[in-house]
């Protein structure tokens, strides 16, 4: 089965850029049946935050589990991974479920999983 996801950059110099990932194109990796997208400053990541010096090289990942739930996982990053909670933000330690459309921050960069178009 092909897995797809669109992620939109919501801040910084790449604000508004839409990044599309698909397992068919070899994006992400399979791990114990889950689909993993890696995010960080290093080139080998799926989502490369080259322009964010506050992002760690292997900063965080997104995990799509077999139940169809997205998880945001922090890789013990230096400047932290955050999710938006109401009008505030909360630091992620370990992993935390993520909803479509919910904003999250890796380093200084805000990102969002785009809800599927109807």
């Amino acid at each position: 089965m092909t897995l797809r996801v669109d992620i939109m950059v919501m801040s910084g110099v790449d604000d508004g850029q839409l990044l599309s990932f698909s397992s068919y194109n070899g994006d992400g990796a399979a791990e114990a049946g889950d689909w993993i997208l890696r995010m960080g400053r290093r080139d080998g990541n799926d989502l490369i935050l080259r322009n964010d010096t506050f992002a760690s090289r292997d900063h965080a990942s997104l995990r799509f589990d077999q139940a169809g739930q997205w998880w945001l996982v922090d890789n013990k990053s230096r400047n932290g991974t955050f999710i938006e909670e109401g009008h505030d933000e909360a630091r992620v330690s370990g992993s935390i479920p993520l909803q479509d459309g919910q904003l999250f921050r890796v380093g200084h960069t805000w990102l969002r999983i785009q809800p599927e178009a109807e």
């Binding site: 910084g12 110099v13 604000d15 508004g16 010096t53 009008h87």
Partner: protein, 629 residues
């Protein structure tokens, strides 16, 4: 047309991007560029809703964050979203027959794109985006002329107001023909002014009275935001509510809020209008249950080091005078985790750097900055405040909430010195290093707060956590229709130590009701302390008036202790709230003396100095037989 062009906006936007070390053009820069225009339509439309440009720019900068020191790319690229917004603005301009978008077009494009950082920030602040779009489309310039509202003072009004306050009041009541200022409601220790006023309709009929609060613009706007996001949904049915949005006097950094008020038949307004016994009963039987349902009674277990909840009440950890970096050798760096014991020993004039603190306040008029320890959620504790004097404000961008990487200065005053300064004003002969000070009776000694406050900050407190008012003093408590409690001033509303509100209220009762009768000398102060300590009926004499409500507060506290009978939890709260009071310059000397003693005794009750706590009389042991009568 205002005569400003797209070029003007883009010049401001580019400068903003460079100042923030971002080096790209995003929608946030367009937005700040527009807000900085001399006759900005966007700023005017937001000011109608009560938001000033400086406040909004601060907030946008905080949301976007400063860029890194190094540049990663050449030039000043537009973000993909900025391209989209500029495209929409061009379309709007073309449809209107203009060759180039103007400020209206760009602002409307920003609203239409709908997903950008400024709009997310505006939504978080509670801006009505539909109204903003409608006001921008209507394009009628908002009149800022001073309205001709007539201000009348009632005979009972006994305070002086500045010209700026009067102009602001006229603007707040611009839709009314006349306003009668009924009463000044004193009680706080800040710059805030609270009034009771009756507006009249243009036809002459009186409307319901309202409570007006005037204060610094940032404080008022913060209060309005807290009210919207935290407080509103927790309020009982009949109580004070915010009417409309704040009204701002931009040039004066002043703003005002209006709360509803429904007066009772008796003409009583302030809680202090009730006499001792009635006030006590009312606090216990009306105020506590009414707000308790959604606030204090929804408490859950909470264990914290005392500093996490109480450090912010104390004077700044250290005050420094900023000097240019790289000029001298830095002797010590203050960073998280803060070592208070080390900071305490810093000498006057030694050079320190502060790293990764959060900027809490900028005061251009005083050339000062306030920094607080930690980032994000930690900074909400406001602990370990550091004041920076003679701050370099020119040429730097400072915005509230910013994480300050590094700031360097010479030590001007430590916290110990600030406290000593306050105590010396009460008694020049005070020995700041003595372990104990005289208590309420001849052979009763109390721990010296100046010696023990610091170790008490590290005490782990077994307590509970709940929603709080955060500034519960007599000036913020009003009595309305059918004795309904009306609370105002939600600037400090938050989730925190449940007993904080009650300790604040008790200290407020002590200063308002006990201290005025306590006489001028230390002996009188000690006698007053003895009376608060041995709270047992029957109480006699004038000063006893003030003790009944304190007794009621203690009854409420008893129900709110994390562990039944463990009063040390409350003693810690009282110790720090009372210690804060000795620095309030608007309190009388006798009130501040009494508060020093109250703090000392509370520290003793909390076990500071371990002056045989088992045998020491427990200040908070109360005889509750009165409650059943």
């Amino acid at each position: 047309m205002t005569g400003t062009t797209l070029r003007d906006i883009l010049i401001h936007a580019r400068q903003e991007s460079a100042r923030m070390q971002q080096h790209y053009m995003g929608v946030e820069h367009f937005c700040i560029g527009m807000l900085q225009l001399p006759n900005s339509a966007l700023a005017a439309a937001l000011e109608v809703q009560g938001y000033t440009p400086p406040y909004l720019i601060d907030y946008l900068r905080r949301k976007a964050g400063k860029g890194p020191k190094q540049r990663l790319w050449a030039g000043l690229p537009y973000t993909p979203r900025a391209d989209v917004v500029m495209g929409i603005a061009n379309d709007i301009a073309l449809e209107a027959g203009r060759t180039e978008p103007d400020e209206h077009d760009l602002a409307l494009a920003m609203l239409e794109e709908g997903d950008n950082l400024p709009l997310r920030a505006f939504a978080a602040l509670g801006v009505d985006l539909d109204r903003l779009a409608a006001d921008l489309k209507a394009a009628t310039p908002v009149s800022a002329a001073a309205p001709n509202t007539e201000l009348v003072f009632s005979d009972a009004f006994d305070a002086e107001l500045s010209v700026a306050h009067l102009v602001l009041l006229r603007r707040i009541f611009s839709r009314n023909g006349r306003v009668r200022l009924e009463r000044w409601l004193p009680g706080g220790h800040t710059s805030a002014i609270v009034l009771l006023a009756t507006p009249f309709r243009p036809e002459g009929d009186a409307d319901a009275p309202v409570v007006v609060k005037l204060d610094r613009a940032d404080a008022i706007l913060d209060e309005a935001q807290r009210y919207e996001t935290i407080v509103k949904r927790t309020l009982p049915a009949l109580t004070a509510r915010l009417i409309d949005t704040p009204v701002v006097l931009t040039g004066e950094n002043l703003a005002g809020l209006v709360y509803t008020f429904v007066p009772g038949e008796t003409g009583r307004v302030a809680a202090l209008d009730l006499d001792g016994d009635a006030l006590g009963n009312w606090l216990r039987d009306e105020l506590y249950p009414t707000f308790g349902a959604t606030w204090w009674n929804q408490r859950r277990p909470y264990r914290f080091p005392a500093w996490a909840e109480y450090d912010w009440l104390l004077p700044p950890l250290v005050t420094i005078e900023q000097i240019p970096e790289d000029e001298v050798k830095v002797a010590y760096v203050i960073r998280d985790p803060v070592r208070r014991a080390r900071v305490r020993t810093l000498e006057y004039g030694s050079v320190v750097s502060v790293e990764d603190f959060t900027l809490e306040q900028v005061r251009p008029d005083k050339q000062t900055l306030s920094l607080i320890g930690g980032k994000g959620q930690e900074a909400a504790r406001k602990a370990f405040r550091i004041e920076v004097r003679k701050a370099e404000l020119d040429g730097n961008v400072w915005f509230r909430g910013e994480i300050v990487e590094r700031i360097t200065g010479r030590v001007w005053r430590t916290r110990d010195e600030s406290l000593m300064h306050s105590v010396m004003a009460l008694d020049p002969d005070f020995d700041p290093r003595a372990g104990t000070i005289p208590g309420s009776t001849r052979d009763h000694r109390l721990p010296n707060p100046l010696v023990y406050y610091d170790e008490l900050l590290d005490r782990k407190v077994d307590a509970t956590l709940s929603m709080l008012h955060g500034d519960l003093h007599l000036g913020n408590i009003l009595v309305g229709h059918k004795q309904a409690p009306f609370l105002i001033d939600f600037e400090q509303a938050r989730t925190g130590h449940t007993l904080f509100d009650w300790a604040s209220l008790e200290i407020s009762l002590i200063t308002a009701l006990v201290a005025p009768n306590a006489g001028e000398t230390w002996d009188f102060a000690r006698r007053a302390l003895g009376m608060i300590t041995n709270l047992r009926p029957p109480l006699a004499g004038e000063a006893a008036e003030g003790v009944y409500p304190i007794l009621a507060v203690r009854e409420i506290v008893e129900q709110n202790l994390a562990a039944p009978g463990q009063w040390a939890e409350y003693a810690i709260a009282r110790a720090f709230v009372a210690l804060r009071g000795i620095g309030f310059s608007d309190l009388s000397t006798q009130a501040r003396r009494l508060l020093l003693l109250v703090s000392a005794q509370a520290m003793g009750d909390a076990g500071a100095g371990s002056a045989t706590p088992e045998n020491a009389p427990d200040a908070t042991q109360v005889d509750l037989s009165r409650t059943t009568s």
